[in-house]
Subunit: 327 residues, 2 copies
């Protein structure tokens, strides 16, 4: 196939076309992904997640530039529908993005904002695979980060950066719940704000509380240093950044690289690759199984069952039983 | 079953136990939901969605109180892991919640923050069904609202309130993307802030742009009045609130009630009930089909396929084909 050869040779138009095919789930998407799969596995995939207002998109731009400064090529995938990468940019943001867009070592793609989250996570994984096969060294995936959403999409990343910012209502609220589990690196952006240190301290406190449990750094004299710990665990560093001025962004990049080395050296990388593979398989199977089941039913069966549930004649679990028994 | 009889008789401990069974997917959860299904369909389910920092949780408390003032009983389901209902409250919020908690006409439940979003949406729908069967008149579901997450969970609500607040970074960014599709009512909370009117205007502008397309109110002389339109559509009202002082909250409640009447009178309610039923069936089927498929496989088969994907010997779609061909 020309498209595949062109894409592997670094042709940008072939890349854009391949991504569109994959996103639209075109007829040849399957064959495309199958052909590219053997060329994947070289890129380091970096997820950035954080609430709106943290300056996450600006940080993505700045981090991409910091990688370009070391000669790395960068793919950007914006999954956050509120991201300026996805179209809603202010003028200032647009200018910053345009700087990136003129660089042949950068490719930016915004994911469609429609559809179920499961479908989105699968399509995102496929687009990452295409960028990986196309030879991009680092792939930055920007996702909106509050709730469960980011957990699903973070499963596609090797290194997850959780972006916080001072003064977003209440830090304690915004920071809690699941963030410790997914963060490999914390970025406290807008660090020139007066209460930035409070946000850093809140994160450190959370890490301290976690270390009192089974995981995390060993308690000992003085605060633990971030990075690899004596017991083999990784303590996420907390990096202060001012993305609009590029400050702290090189340190952030260097921490990501250190985490990438840690993943390789500790054998964790292989485990993350397995988790990424399992997540991809899970998403595909769920969609296929449901589509297959529905294809085997007479056209009127599903509407009849839905009407029976809505009319309280049948509960949804019994309706599922009925469908499964027939098939 | 005693538990069911007690729950239907209004026993709070039975209710709490039933919800726990459903959340934990205990052995008797299925039978419980089947027995309760015939008693559901009376509650009006109200989703509140919005980004952290909008004061959404405080608005949920205030709206619950506004309903109590009219004698309605209220169930609250907090799906947002950053919600103070879910444990991360500041002292002020905790005091406000405690006011609610002492009232027998109110029942508050926070959903576990773990697990996949699909699983969470399903469990949320089940908990709503239990509260509905227990006789609560209004059920408030608080979800975090940015991205796709809220769309899945909004499918469980009859009326969706989208909560915005002034000055959250950039309104245009925070507001866009999918919000027009799901909002039945907009609440602009923290309306005492200087730039509240800018947020209201941004929402009105979005509505105006939408009405230039195929949906929404007819263009005509003067701005359209919110509520039911001449063509049968519903134009979402934009209600300014100051939840901490309870201001605007009665107006918000009254708009929700007006929307509930609109749903009944227009026949939309039946359509929303069908959509809720279809969403419930969809979630259950996906989980069941995958579980059934995996149960039929030898224990070593899935790990072997995952390893083959991670080792680039097989792409995920081919692995799915292999699993499906065997079963």
């Amino acid at each position: 196939m020309d498209l595949i050869a062109d894409l592997l040779a670094g042709n940008r138009r072939a890349l854009a076309r391949a991504i569109s095919r994959v996103e639209d789930r075109a007829d040849d998407a399957r064959g495309l992904l199958a052909a590219l799969h053997g060329h994947t596995g070289r890129a380091h995939v970096i997820g950035l997640t954080g609430a709106p207002g943290t300056g996450k998109s600006t940080l993505v731009s700045a981090l991409a530039r910091a990688y370009r400064a070391t000669g790395r090529t960068v793919g950007v995938v914006a999954v956050d529908p509120t991201s300026p990468f996805s179209g809603g940019a202010l003028l200032g943001d647009r200018v910053r993005m345009r700087d990136l867009a003129g660089d042949p070592g950068i490719f930016i793609r915004s994911m469609a904002t429609r559809g179920s989250l499961g479908g989105l996570a699968r399509a995102t994984a496929d687009v990452i695979a295409v960028l990986d096969a196309a030879g991009f060294d680092r792939i930055l995936v920007e996702t909106v980060g509050v709730g469960q959403a980011e957990v699903d999409i973070a499963s596609a990343a090797h290194t997850t950066i959780v972006v916080e910012a001072p003064g977003l209502g209440d830090e304690v609220q915004a920071i809690k719940a699941g963030v410790l589990e997914i963060a490999d690196v914390f970025a406290v952006n807008k660090a020139d704000r007066a209460d930035a240190d409070r946000t850093v301290m809140a994160l450190q406190m959370m890490q301290g509380l976690a270390s009192a449990g089974h995981h995390g750094p060993q308690p000992g004299p003085g605060p633990a240093q971030p990075g690899p710990q004596a017991d083999g665990a990784w303590l996420p560093p907390i990096v202060k950044t001012i993305a609009t001025e590029g400050r702290g962004v090189e340190a952030l990049r260097d921490w990501v690289e250190q985490h990438a080395r840690y993943l390789r050296d500790s054998g964790q990388l292989a485990r993350r690759e397995q988790a990424r593979a399992a997540a991809a398989l899970d998403h595909i199977l769920r969609d296929r199984l449901l589509a297959d089941l529905l294809a085997r039913q007479p056209a009127e069966r599903l509407p009849a069952l839905v009407a029976a549930i809505a009319g309280r004649a049948l509960d949804p679990y019994a309706a599922a039983d009925a469908l499964l028994a027939d098939s």
